[in-house]
C-alpha cells in the first residue's frame, strides 16, 4: 500500500513541473513585449525598460526559467502588480468564500447525483429512469452561470428568499455566509451532479448484472439489502473517480459563477488579474488550482486502492 502511494506521488512530479513551465511560458506567449503589454498604451519607454529589468526579461529565456523554478520551489510567486502584495497572500485573502462555495457545491453534487443514479438504475427503462437521464443530459448541456442567472431571478428577485449577489464573511455571520453562497453552490453542484448521476446509474447497472448479486438474491437477501450492502459498495468506485474528475469542471466553473454572483473569491481574483494583465496572480492561481486538483485525484486514487485491493497490485 505504501508502495502504491509513493508510486502515485512520484507520477505527479512531471505533471507539476510541466504545468510550472506552462505558467512561466504564459508571459512569453504575449504577442510583442510583455512589459509593454502589462503597462498599457500610456507607458513611457523608461517605465517599460524598468519593468523589463524588474521582471528579468532581458536575460536569456533558460536563465529566466531557472530563476522561475527556484522561486516556485521556495513558494515565492512574486507580488501582484496591482495590489502590491505577495500572490499567496492575495489568494488567501480571497480563499474563504471560494472554499465554502466549493464544499457546498460538492455536497449538492453528491446529494443529488448519487440517489438519482441509484434510483434510475433500480427503475431501469421506466419513466423514472427516463426523467433522470433527461435531466442529466440537460444538466451537462447548461452553462452553470446561466443556471445561476435564472436562480437569481427565481429565488432572489421573485421569491426574495436569498440574497441576489455579494458575500457576507463568516466572521460576520455564519448563516449569512452560507446563504450568500447557496445559489452559486447549487448552480455548480446541480450541473456536476448530472455527471455523477450518469456514472452511478451505469456503474449500478453493471454491478447488478454480476454473478455475486445473483448469488445474494438467490440466498434470499431482500432487494434493499442487495442494493445497499452488496451492489452499492462495488458500484461506488467508478463514481469516486468521476467525483475527483468533476473538480476540473467545478474549479473552472467557479471563475464564471463567482462573477455572476459578485462573490469576492479566487475566481474573481483571476478575472480581475486577466483584465489588468496581472501575470503573477494568474500564474499563482493556476499553480495552486492545479496542485489542488492533482492532490484531490491522488487522494481519490489512494481511497480507490484502499477499498479495492486489486488496484494496488496493478
Amino acid at each position: 500500500m505504501i508502495g502504491f502511494v509513493l508510486r502515485r506521488l512520484v507520477s505527479v512530479i512531471p505533471v507539476l513541473l510541466l504545468v510550472a513551465v506552462f505558467a512561466f511560458l504564459l508571459v512569453h506567449l504575449t504577442p510583442g513585449d510583455p512589459a509593454a503589454y502589462m503597462l498599457g498604451p500610456l507607458a513611457s519607454q523608461a517605465q517599460i525598460n524598468a519593468l523589463r529589468r524588474a521582471l528579468g526579461l532581458n536575460e536569456p529565456i533558460l536563465v529566466q526559467l531557472g530563476h522561475w523554478f527556484g522561486r516556485v520551489l521556495r513558494g515565492d510567486l512574486g507580488d501582484s502588480f496591482f495590489m502590491g502584495i505577495p500572490v499567496p497572500l492575495a489568494i488567501s485573502q480571497r480563499l474563504e468564500p471560494t472554499a465554502l462555495l466549493t464544499v457546498l457545491a460538492v455536497a449538492f453534487e453528491l446529494v443529488i447525483g448519487i440517489p438519482a443514479g441509484i434510483l434510475a438504475a433500480r427503475r431501469r427503462n421506466t419513466w423514472v429512469d427516463q426523467v433522470v437521464i433527461g435531466f442529466a443530459s440537460l444538466g451537462i448541456s447548461t452553462p452553470s452561470f446561466w443556471l445561476g442567472l435564472n436562480l437569481i431571478l427565481l429565488f432572489g428577485v421573485t421569491l426574495h428568499l436569498l440574497p441576489v449577489a455579494g458575500y457576507v464573511p463568516v466572521s460576520e455571520s455564519w448563516v449569512g455566509a452560507v446563504r450568500s453562497v447557496l445559489m452559486p453552490a447549487f448552480a455548480l453542484g446541480a450541473i456536476n451532479s448530472a455527471l455523477v448521476a450518469r456514472m452511478t446509474r451505469a456503474s449500478m447497472l453493471e454491478t447488478l448484472s454480476q454473478d455475486f448479486v445473483r448469488t445474494a438474491r438467490a440466498k434470499g437477501i431482500s432487494e434493499r439489502g442487495v442494493v445497499w450492502h452488496h451492489a452499492l459498495r462495488n458500484a461506488f468506485l467508478p463514481v469516486l473517480t468521476v467525483v475527483g474528475n468533476s473538480f476540473a469542471l467545478l474549479l473552472g466553473g467557479l471563475v464564471v459563477t463567482e462573477q455572476v454572483f459578485a462573490i469576492p473569491g479566487v475566481g474573481q481574483l483571476v478575472i480581475n488579474a486577466v483584465l489588468r494583465r496581472d501575470y503573477p496572480v494568474i500564474q499563482g492561481v493556476l499553480l495552486y488550482v492545479v496542485l489542488l486538483y492533482v492532490a484531490i485525484n491522488v487522494v481519490v486514487d489512494v481511497l480507490y486502492a484502499l477499498v479495492d485491493p486489486r488496484i494496488r497490485f496493478e
Binding site: L29, S137, P143, W146, L149, V255, V270, V274, V290, Y293
Partner: protein, 287 residues
Amino acid sequence: MTAVKPIASGPRPPHLGALGRSRLGVTGACLIAVVVGAALLADVLPTRNPLATSPSIRLRPPAAGHWFGTDDLGRDVFSRVVYGSRLSLQVGLLVVASAGLVGVVAGVSAGYFRGWDNVLMRTTDALLAIPPALLAIALMAALGPRVSNVVIALTVTYAPQLTRVVRAQILVLRETTFSEAARAVGATERRVAFQHVLPNAVSAVVVQATVTFADAVLTEAGLSYLGVGEPPGVPSWGNILSEGRAYMIRAPWITLFPGSAIVTCVLGLNLFGDGLRDILDPRLRGR
C-alpha cells in the same frame, strides 16, 4: 495488392442509417438542425442588423416586431441571438477541426510510431491537469481578446483529450490481425498506419469530436461572458448574456433567449454524440 484490401480493412463499420433509429441521435440532430438552420438562414430570417441601436425602443418585451424583445440599446435580441449562433458554430467547428487535426497527428505518432510518445503523453497529462475553463482563461489573458485567439485557446484546451482518444484506439488497432495481415502482404508501416489502422479509429474520434464541439461552445460562452473572449459588442451568446445581466430584473428576456440558444446547441450535440456512441459501441447501449 488492391484485391487484398477488403480483407485487410478490418471490421465493417456500423451503418450510419442506424442513427435514424436512435431516439437520442434523432432528437440531437433535430436540435442541431434548428441552430445550424438559424445560422445559415440568418440573412433570410426576419432579422435586423444585430449591431443597429435604436434608443427609442430600449428594453421592450418580446412582441410581433421583436420576437425576443430588445436590449438596453434598443438592439433586436432575436437578431443578435441568430447572428450569435453563427459565431458560436464557427468557433466550435474551427476548434473541432484544428483540435482533431492535432489529435490525429499527435495520437498516431505517439500511438503507432511511438516516436515522442513519452514527451507527448506527459504534455497532455500536464494540460489535462489544468481545469479547461482556467486553461482557456489563462491563454486568453496572454493572447488578448480576439475571435481568432478564442479558437487558438480552445484548441490548446481540447486537443489533449482528442490526442488521448486517438492514441488509445491506435495502440489497440496496431496489434490486430488485420494490421498484421497488411504488414504480411508487404504494406509499409506508413500505409498500415494511415490506410488500415486510422480509418478504424475514426468512429471513436467522431464521438469525441461531438463532445469537444459541445464543450467548446460552452467554454466559449463562458469566456465571452467574462469579457475575455470575443471583444465587447460582438454579438456572441456569452456577450449578450453579460450585457443583459445588469438589466435582468427589468428585462429578463435579454438573458433568457441567448441562454436557451446555448442549451439547445450543446444539448443537441451531446445527445447526437450519445446516439453515435450507442451505435458505434453496442456494449454501452442503454448505459
